[in-house]
């Protein structure tokens, strides 16, 4: 088989789409984080706008419902002065039987410049990137279990903000790793940035042994998994894991893997606690931890807008 070029990079190695953190060179990731830093101040200004995407049309294509992620992309695009069109496709074309590529062709004909795509199937943004017009840029806003690269990047921004250096860190990711696109993107980003110790923590149904292949240490014991950790990333537990016989109950999950103040004492004294949101209080995280001194969950949200501005402005500036 031919080795295909990474579809998110052009021939000069510049980012034209953001589909996954896997395979991105470290300097591309660092450049995004640095650029995000320059946008943070924009968010504090009286007039929260820069004209980088003026006249451009950004289409939010959400084939799977999400209010939060869509809103942060919308805010980011508007602060870059883009025109934003929100399409809740889960409720429109797809239910009329229009195919994914027909939808894309129609929207391309409306002179879209960028698609922000969320889809329940892993890899859907790749298909879109392969079939849209060459000037259109695609940002993956979450595809199946595969990737949620802007979440991964904003997590890295958050870690860098609080911990400065990646090369000495122990990072624990706790919960439903196997179904989590956030976990995959975090793992790729952490390994790319040189984090030496990444642990995936949870029961065998949610953290199978073959995750080792992604460069993480698999732990089934919570105390061991977060011992001495600098960063703890808690993942949201989806209700369907109970019906799929992966867990007996949310309560039992909390007992074993829920992050409480007591368990948190096993981590480093200055450990930070992260969560991609929305949080399930009392399922994966205790309220006292979510609202406590170690929590950086709300800064994550703020950084998320700056990171998405950085991603959109960078890819819009690179030609296929």
């Amino acid at each position: 088989m031919l080795h295909k070029r990474n579809p998110q990079l052009n021939h000069h190695g510049e980012l034209i789409h953001l589909l996954s953190i896997e395979g991105l060179p470290r300097d591309v990731v660092t450049h995004i984080l640095d650029t995000a830093g320059t946008f943070l101040s924009v968010n504090d200004r009286e007039v929260k706008k820069v004209p980088l995407l003026r006249g451009k049309s950004v289409f939010n294509l959400f084939f799977e419902n999400s209010t939060r992620t869509r809103t942060t992309f919308e805010i980011a695009a508007k602060r870059l002065s883009a025109d934003v069109i929100n399409l809740d496709i889960a409720k429109s074309s797809a239910s009329k039987g229009e195919s994914l590529l027909d939808t894309i062709a129609n929207l391309s004909a409306m002179h879209a410049d960028m698609f922000v795509v969320r889809h329940s199937e892993s890899g859907a943004p790749y298909l879109i990137a392969q079939h849209c017009a060459p000037h259109v840029h695609v940002v993956n806003a979450g595809d199946g279990r595969h990737a949620h690269p802007t979440q991964g990047l904003l997590d890295m921004y958050t870690i860098r903000h609080f911990k400065k250096d990646f090369t000495q860190l122990s990072v624990a990711i706790v919960g439903d790793i196997v179904h989590s696109r956030v976990a995959r993107s975090d793992i790729h980003a952490l390994t790319t940035l040189g984090v030496p110790d990444i642990r995936a923590v949870g029961p065998k149904t949610l953290v199978p042994g073959d995750l080792k292949g992604m460069g993480v240490r698999v732990c089934h014991d919570m105390a061991e998994g977060i011992r001495g950790a600098d960063v703890i990333i808690m993942l949201r537990l989806q209700n369907e894991r109970m019906s799929g016989a992966m867990l007996p109950s949310a309560g039992e999950f909390f007992k074993n893997y829920g992050l409480t103040e007591d368990k948190l004492r096993g981590a480093k004294p200055d450990a930070i606690v992260m969560h991609p949101g929305p949080i399930n209080r009392g399922v994966e995280i205790d309220s006292s931890v979510a609202d406590g001194a170690h929590s950086v969950i709300l800064p994550q949200v703020t950084f998320g807008i700056a990171v998405r501005m950085a991603v959109m402005s960078i890819i819009a500036g690179n030609d296929a």
Binding site: L127, R184, D210
Partner: protein, 437 residues
């Protein structure tokens, strides 16, 4: 019509014949092999200089999509594809719509195929009505209509008691049951479990989906004595079980698809839907075990697993894309490629797509069983003439099949395939002839 094929290298894997010579054909049968006397008055002469003259290929797994899925393939387009691929006999599974569980449907299919006279068609009947895994079909009636065995296609029987009874009943009358070993619960993923599926976030089909089903089938073969053909094994562990079962003397045979023989899950790349296949592509160690097992005869036959899929069903995110790839026209080339890679002589390579699959079919072929897949004086003139030195580039334009998707498309692989069919004869009639170069 009398036909003379001249100056070819005649290879008959079953008898070991391998010599340069001629073939005289009359009244649908082979009259002479080797030296043809000068007074044979041929109406047509095919010059086979530099070419191999082999038995027509016998493909044990090809979907023609009729009835029910005509947008993806028609009897005529797919049998033309068979002829273009040098395939002169093919076995089609019963997963049409409606399923092949009524003798009338089988009669109709056989009749239409006969009228086209492009390729011999041997349908498998549904083992259970509507493939629902509940009620047995009328196997004797279906056999009279021309079914050569009974299959559940891609729908495993979940109820082990029904499977046991189906095998007992089939064993009573000596019918062969064709099963692809796949556990119905463990087999619901879209890619083989492993590093690639984990990384890409694709739901996995573990190897145990195959081996648990295989163990169940083999246990049932032990107690029922049914003859079972195991379709399209995909794993090294599956091959090991098959090898044990054969050593034990169980009446089982097995095949592997061209896809599993040449590809691995790494070829999925960036979610290429052409690689969405059932069984899913597994790891390198599995592929190596399948290649070795086909070489040593543990696996009896190589099949195309031809499944035409239309554009709309394939151009979707990986997990939503319909599984399957076109294959009839690739079978010969991919057999030759495997044989060359494995250091096999041509007759041994060709055996896996000619005489060996006929041995799998056995008595179900009736009078054909003594001459299909062979070059025999007095036998049916099903012949494939191909140029082993020619190469070709797989593009949608080059394919006669209505299914244009294949993992081996040139744009994906960047390599040409070896071997090009020059002419295909079915029952002494030219079913395909390549345009003069």
């Amino acid at each position: 019509m009398k036909i003379l094929i001249k100056n070819g290298r005649l290879i008959d894997p079953a008898s070991g014949r391998d010599e340069v010579g001629d073939v005289a054909i009359a009244a649908g049968r082979i009259l002479t092999l080797g030296k043809v006397s000068a007074d044979f008055q041929a109406a047509r002469t095919i010059d086979a200089s530099g070419c191999i003259v082999a038995p027509g290929l016998v493909d044990l797994a090809a979907r023609l999509r009729e009835p029910g899925h005509e947008h993806e393939g028609m009897l005529e387009s797919e049998l033309n594809a068979a002829a273009a691929g040098g395939v002169t006999s093919l076995v089609c599974p019963p997963d049409t719509d409606p399923t092949l569980d009524e003798p009338g449907l089988v009669d109709m299919l056989k009749f239409r195929a006969r009228k086209l006279s492009l390729c011999r068609l041997f349908p498998l009947g549904a083992l259970t009505r509507g493939l629902a895994g509940e009620v047995l079909t009328e196997m004797a009636e279906l056999t009279e209509s021309g079914c050569v065995g009974f299959s559940q296609a891609e729908v495993p029987i979940q109820d082990t008691l029904v499977l046991q009874r189906a095998l007992m009943y089939a064993a009573t009358f000596g019918y062969t049951v064709w099963l692809r070993p796949q556990d119905g619960w463990l087999g619901k993923g879209v890619a083989a479990s492993g590093a690639v599926a984990t990384r890409l976030g694709l739901s996995g089909v573990p190897v145990i989906a195959e081996t648990i089903a295989l163990q169940t089938i083999l246990e049932l073969v032990r107690v029922t004595g049914a003859r079972v053909h195991l379709c399209r094994l995909s794993s090294a562990a599956g091959v090991a079980l098959l090898r044990q079962a054969k050593a034990e003397g169980l009446p089982v045979t097995a095949d592997v698809s061209i896809n599993s023989l040449h590809l691995t899950d790494v070829d999925i790349g960036f979610f290429n839907p052409a690689m969405r296949l059932t069984p899913p592509l597994r790891q390198g160690g599995d592929r190596d075990a399948l290649r070795a097992a086909l070489a040593d005869g543990t696996l009896d036959a190589l099949v195309s697993d031809h499944t035409p899929v239309d554009e709309d069903a394939k151009n979707l995110p990986f997990g939503e894309a319909e599984p399957g790839a076109t294959g009839l026209e690739l079978l010969l080339s991919l057999a030759l490629k495997w044989g060359a890679d494995s250091g096999l002589a041509l007759p041994a390579t060709l055996a896996r797509v000619t005489s060996d699959p006929v041995r799998v079919l056995g008595d179900a072929l009736g009078s054909l069983s003594s001459s299909a897949g062979r070059l025999v004086v007095g036998g049916v003139a099903d012949v494939c003439v191909f140029d082993p030195a020619a190469t070709w580039v797989v593009t949608s334009k080059a394919l006669a099949s209505q299914g244009k998707h294949t993992p081996f498309a040139f744009e994906a692989t960047g390599t040409a395939l070896p071997g090009r069919v020059r002419a295909t004869l079915v029952a002494g009639t030219v079913a395909y002839e390549a345009a003069a170069a």
